[in-house]
Every structure is written in C-alpha cells, then in structure tokens.
C-alpha cells in the first residue's frame, strides 16, 4: 500500500487522470447498470419479481392468417379462465396495468386527481406493500363487488387531512363513486410500475357483455402468477393447455387467440410492455453488453497508457526482482493486484457518485413507460441501490477494467531483460 501511495504521489497528473478516468468510467457504467437493475431486481413492493410470471396480452388472428386483427390487454373472463386455480401456482392475481387518472375527494374536501388501479386480493399477496394501517380488501370483497379501497398515505393526507390510522374505514369518492378505505400503504414509486398506483380498488370480475371484442379475450386487465417453487414450467404448460382449449372453442368464430409467448418472467415483461410476440430478451441483452463493452474498452485503453507510463519508471525495480528469481507470472500478478487497488478506489468513487446521483436525480434520468402519465415522481431510495447484484456488477467491471488496462502493460513490463533493466541508468 505504501508503495502504491508513493507511486500515486510521484506522478500527480497521471495519477489524477487515472483515478478520475476510472471513477468516470465506473460512474457511467454503474448508471447504466442501475437503470437496468432497478427494473429487474426485487424492489419493494415488487419483492417477488424473480418468481413472478406475467401474462395479459391478447392478440387476435383471423384463422389461418399470420397478420393479427387486434391486440390489447385481456378481458377479465379470459384472464380468469387462463389463471384461476392453477395446480402449480401459489397465488394468481388479476389487475389493470396502467392506472387510470380519476377524481378523488372526501366529503367536504377539495377534489384532486389520483392514479387508480384495479386489482384483486391476490395482488396484495404477491406485492409486499408496506401497510401503515388497516389491511387489503379480501376475496369476498372482490367477489361481492364491494366498494373497498386501499390508498397511499399521501392520498390519505390530501383527502382526509388525517393520519393513516384515522383514515381507515372512511369514505372516499372516486370518480363520484363512494369507496370505503380498508388500508393505507406507504407511497409507491412508479419505478415499480406493476405495483404502482395511489389508490387500489377491486377489479370487477363479472364477465362483460359480448361486444365483438371481449369474447375473444380482449380487454384491459393482466395477470400475475406466483408458481410453487420449481413449478414455473408446469404453470406455463397448464396455461398453454387452457389456451389451446380456448382456441378450440374460438375456431367456431374463425379466430385464434395468441398470448405473445406468455406467461413469462420479469425480464420479458420489462423488455416490451405491449408485446405482440414473445419479447426479444436476447437482443436487449446483447445491446446492453455491447454498450458495457464500449463503456469499458475506451477508458481501459486510456488507462493502459497511464499504467505504462507508471511502469516505465519501475523498469529497474522489476529487473532486480527478476534477477533474484521472481517469476514473470508473479510480477504480472503483483502489478495487477497493485493496480486493482487504484481501480477499486476509482470504482468506489464512481459507485458512490452513481448511488448519490440515483437517490437525488433518479426521476430525471429514469423514463417510466411512454404512454402513461404518473402523478408521482419516479423516486428511488439509496437503500434500494445497496443491492448485492449492483455491488457484484461494480466489482466485476472493476476487475475487467483493471485486467484490460493493466494486463498488457504488465506482461510487457515483466518481459524485460533483467541485465538491461538494471544497467539502465534511470
């Protein structure tokens, strides 16, 4: 460590450029990592993203044709038909993806708009909402079409000017319809857009009247399935068996229902929110790694020239060590380890910058879905970013950056002929 400190001090310009360069590179890479990770890691209340299966796109083809006739979310009856009582599922839930902006007010208080989402009771068992008072609505509430609502604490404050506890049980008018508040949860960020809303009301599961649309499975809800451990594939098979049965029935109408490759995992859901086919996750991954490649290669090339200039001053030292029988591998290993310290310093600065940036300015860089307005800003707590996968990515990229930027100069330095190296006057 002393040696590294001495090295850093002896060439301040090159040392500063090295650390700034490393920190900058790591910062940018980690911002890209962060923007991607917040979409895939388990983030409260979506704490079961890694286990959840998603479905809900209905694509209708005329029989025998491969160009579709219509594409939308699912009707409630089709969602029920495909997901109700699956043998291998722990919980299934039906919900509306995009919240609707509705007028909300309590008696005697001014009206304001809030994002309202329809969901069933299963939704609250899959999502881990932080209930500050009360509880979610129940299966019986959903089945009996009772007008119950779960609201966020900011809605409770705005509507009732009251704390969470005293808001439970009160009546909230939502688009002129009275709902009874059963529970109050902590505010949810649109970053977790499946869970996000400001008010949740029971989804109406009554089959809609046939209208040349919903009987083919088109509508406005989606479904979540939480399979029993290790049974995801069995769930997929069962859903597809049920789909085949639906399609046998639909042959009478000369149409075919396709569900765009669903049910699928969270990454697919994030790759394309409104897919017509199974989302191309591979393409997304390739372009992400290509981006990482460019973001790593360019700074690595720069840093390697700094490393070379630092090593050039130590030729004689390397010569002496070689003369005393130190192997080339050992020298390369030592140089890599030394530089790893510098890379880690830069890496930690970069990571901290990224986390600070994320906690303060996340809403400015994160883009939640294209076609939706959200009443709440997309915030992210710094705590959420202290996730092991983000740390693991940072360490991996530091390691790769160090290997590319130091590996080649180190090998070249270790190849030095001890006699010549020691003979050099400087």
């Amino acid at each position: 460590m002393k040696q590294i400190w001495y090295e850093l001090k002896s060439q301040p310009v090159i040392s500063a450029v090295t650390i700034i360069g490393t920190a900058l590179a790591m910062f940018l890479i980690m911002v890209v990592v962060m923007l991607h990770q917040v979409e895939v890691i388990n983030l409260a209340p979506e704490t079961q993203r890694d286990r959840t299966l998603y479905l809900g796109r209905a694509v209708i083809y005329p029989a025998g044709s491969d160009s579709y006739w219509g594409c939308s979310d699912m009707s409630t009856s089709m969602a029920v038909e495909l997901t109700d009582c699956l043998t291998d599922a722990e919980i299934a839930s039906i919900y509306s993806l995009s919240p609707d902006e509705m007028l909300v007010n309590a008696e005697g208080s001014p009206t304001f708009t809030a994002d309202v989402k329809e969901a069933d009771d299963g939704f609250f068992r899959i999502m881990d909402f932080n209930f500050m008072a009360g509880k979610p609505f129940t299966r019986a509430d959903v089945d009996s079409r009772l007008r119950k609502a779960v609201i966020t604490s900011s809605v409770a404050r705005q509507a009732f000017s009251a704390d969470e506890k005293s808001s439970v049980g009160r009546t909230l008018m939502i688009n002129d319809v009275p709902y009874q508040v059963t529970g109050v949860v902590a505010d949810v960020s649109p970053v977790t857009d499946i869970a996000y809303a400001q008010v949740w009301i029971p989804v109406d599961l009554t089959p809609p009247a046939p209208d040349g649309w919903s009987e083919y499975g088109m509508g406005s809800v989606r479904a979540l399935i939480l399979p029993k451990p290790g049974r995801a594939e069995a769930v997929k098979r069962e859903v597809n068996r049920r789909l085949a049965a639906v399609n046998t029935r639909l042959t009478a109408d000369s149409v075919r229902l396709d569900i765009a490759g669903a049910p699928y995992g969270h990454e697919y859901q994030k790759t394309d929110t409104y897919p017509e086919h199974l989302p191309d996750v591979g393409k997304e991954r390739r372009s992400r790694w290509m981006l990482f490649g460019i973001l790593l290669l360019i700074p690595a090339i720069n840093l390697s020239s700094m490393t070379r200039s630092r090593l050039a001053r130590r030729v004689s030292e390397i010569g002496v060590r070689r003369a005393f029988g130190c192997t080339r591998m050992r020298i390369v290993g030592d140089i890599l380890a030394e530089n790893m310290v510098i890379t880690l310093i830069g890496g930690i600065i970069g990571l901290l910058l990224c986390i600070g940036f994320g906690a303060l300015l996340f809403d400015a860089i994160y883009s939640v879905g294209s076609w939706t307005f959200y009443n709440m800003p997309a915030t992210l707590s710094a705590g959420a970013l202290f996730d092991w996968t983000i740390g693991a990515y940072a360490l991996l990229f530091c390691f790769v950056l160090n290997l590319i930027s130091t590996g080649i100069p180190a090998i070249r330095a270790a190849r030095v002929n001890p006699v010549e190296a020691i003979n050099k006057k400087k």
Partner: protein, 429 residues
Amino acid sequence: MKKKLLRQILNEWHTNVWLALEFLVVSVVLWYICDYYYASLRTYCAPLGFEYDHCYDLTMYEITDKSPDFRPEYANDSARAEARHEILRRLKQMPEIEAAAYSQNSRPFNGSNSGITLGYDSINGNALRRFATPDFPVIYRYRGVNGETPQQLRQQMEEGKMLISDNFFNQYSREPLPSTSDIIASGKKIFYTDYKVNGEHPDVNTGAVVVPARYSDFQLWSSFALQDVCRDGFHGPEAMAWYYNELTVRVRPEHDRDFSGKLMSMAQDYLHVGNYLLTNVSSIDDIRRNFQRAETTTIRNYSVGMGFLMINIFLGLLGTFWFRTQQRVNEIAIRRVNGATRLGIFRRLIGEGLLLLALVTPAAIIIDFLLLHYDIATYFDEPHSSALRIIICAGAAFALMALMVMAGIWFPARRAMRIEPAEALSIDN
C-alpha cells in the same frame, strides 16, 4: 514533415496501435450518435401537417350504476349519444373554445390506432382511420392540398364526406403509385374494401384531398382517411356513443390561461351531462411530451454517452502525450537546438494526433457505411444510405474528434514548448 511524422508514428506503433483502436471505436460510436441525431432531426423538422398549440384533451368518465349519481334513464345508446352531443354544444358555447370534436384513436400523439383499407382499380391501400366529428380539422388546422381551409374541411365533413390524405395509397407502397389527388383527378372511384352493399364494395364519398398529418414528431407515418362515423352512411347516430373515445378542443389564444383549471371547475355542473363527468384536462403539448419521452430520453442518453466518450478521448490523449513529452525531452531539445520554433514543436505534437486520427478515419467511414448498409443504424422512418448522410455525419464525428485531439494534446504540447534545450540536454542521461 508529414513523412517524418508518419515515421515517428510507426516507430511508436505499440502505443499508437492502442490509440488508433480507441480513435476507431470512438469515431464509429460518435458517428452513430451523430447519425441518430441527423435522422431524428430530419424527421423532427419535416412538416407535421397539423398544429396542436392551444389544444386540450378532455377525459370524460361515464358514471356506472355503482354511483349514487347514476341516472339509469341516460344509460341507453340514444340517450348516451344525445348526452355527448349536448356536451359538444355546451363546450362550443363557451367563449374560450373555438372548436370541439369527438374522435376515435385520432388525436395527435396517441398510442392507439385503427386502420382502414380503401381501394381504386385493383389497388388496395391501408392507412390510419381517423373517425371524428366535423370540428376535428379545425382543431388541428388540417388543410386541403388545393388550399382548402380547415373551415371548408369542416363543411365537407358535415356533408358526410371522407377526407383522404394525398399519400394514402403511396406512402408505403412498394411500387410507385399515384397520389390520391391524381387518382381523383383521373376520374377513378375510391371504394371501401371493408364493406359490401348488394355484393359490391360501395364508393367513398370523397371530399377534399388533405395534406398528410404525421403520427408524431419522430415518425413520418402520415397517411390517413378522416370521416365522421355518424355520417358515413353505414352507422346510425348511436355510433356517437359507441366509437368515439376522445374529446379534444381548441382554445382561442387570448383565452388560453389556466384553461384546464377553469374547465375542471365546471366539471361537476356545466359539463356533467347524463352520466358523463369530466375527470381530467391535459394540453396536447403535455401529452406530446409524454408520448415522446422514449425518443427524448434516448437523445439525452446519447448526448451523455457522447460527452463521456469525448472526455475519455481528452483524458486519454492528455495522459498519453504527457508521457510522450516526458520521454521525448531530449528529442524536443535537439529539435530546438537545430532551430525549431516553440510554435513548431507545439504544432508538431498536435499534428501527430491529427495525423493518427486522419489515418483511422477511412476505416471508420467503411464501418459506418457497413452499419448503415446492413440496417444496423436505422431509426425512425428516415430513408437512409445516402452519401450525403454519411459525409455530414462522419464529418461531424471527425470534427468532434479533432477538437478533442487538440484539447487533449494542448497541455502536454504547451509543456513541450517550454523545454529549455540547455537544461534538457544537461540532464544526466
């Protein structure tokens, strides 16, 4: 001098090969970003075909039987249609409002679409179907290709005529096809392919041919047919209740101050008709910003990426040339002794960086061309592969790179200028 510089670059090929690789990768990435900007700017600057300033979208909610305010006598189709007409009438009576229309998947910056297929001779064309009530062309200032005003277009829509965009048949056709105005001028009939009356496809009652109106700022898709579904001869007046899912208005500019607040204050009484209730008013400009967030985010992210790469080039050259001038103290001193001026030394170092960049550029342009050729760099509908596009974007990338080369070498080169030959050569080497 060029020859000597080349020789020097070759002699130090070990460092230079890395530098050249960096130049190459960054040149291509910068070109890609410049090309993205170029393509998006070209699309963005193309005529939009409509205007949306002072326009607002009104969200109407239909109260259900769950509400104490639900009025069952307004729940049937004819009453619902009549309530919608009444809302339009009330809106148009407001002094602030110039025009108001219902429409279906038609207002600008809208993710939902409907399609329509029309035909002439044996040719079928498919484009956006915009169903709307007659004020629609006035709200968005649509124009006819022969100079018809929005008001004249409204008149034609009231007569049940269909307004077809001039590029309806040929915007995306594989073979060159005539424009809609040419088809009509040649006396040919345009017919509906989706309907049949007495076994025949009925003719379209065509009105003015209109200027194409684009889908959004970043899309060139602009072919459409506009008609009032209640007046098309196939649907009854109830279609008003069934089809229309959007309500938009144009506000007179002098009244466009806190318009949404004013309208919302009337939501509970003046604009509460039948079971309809106004729940939200948003300006089309806000909707537009939201709708195009993906594109604007990409542009912003690319700009940050571009800045990052440029800083990297700067730092990389700063470090490399700092080291080089350190190593070349003797050489520079000897040059100075032999009569080289300070400026000459400075220019020589900068020249070295620029020459290396120039050597790499042809390879970068070949890669750029391949990326375009194999459709890797296509965004939007922008027709690509034009030589001009490559020249402009590669030129911009080169200029940016050259700027960074000069900035990065500036400090080391200034240091080199200050080398005093006597001191440098006296150092015990």
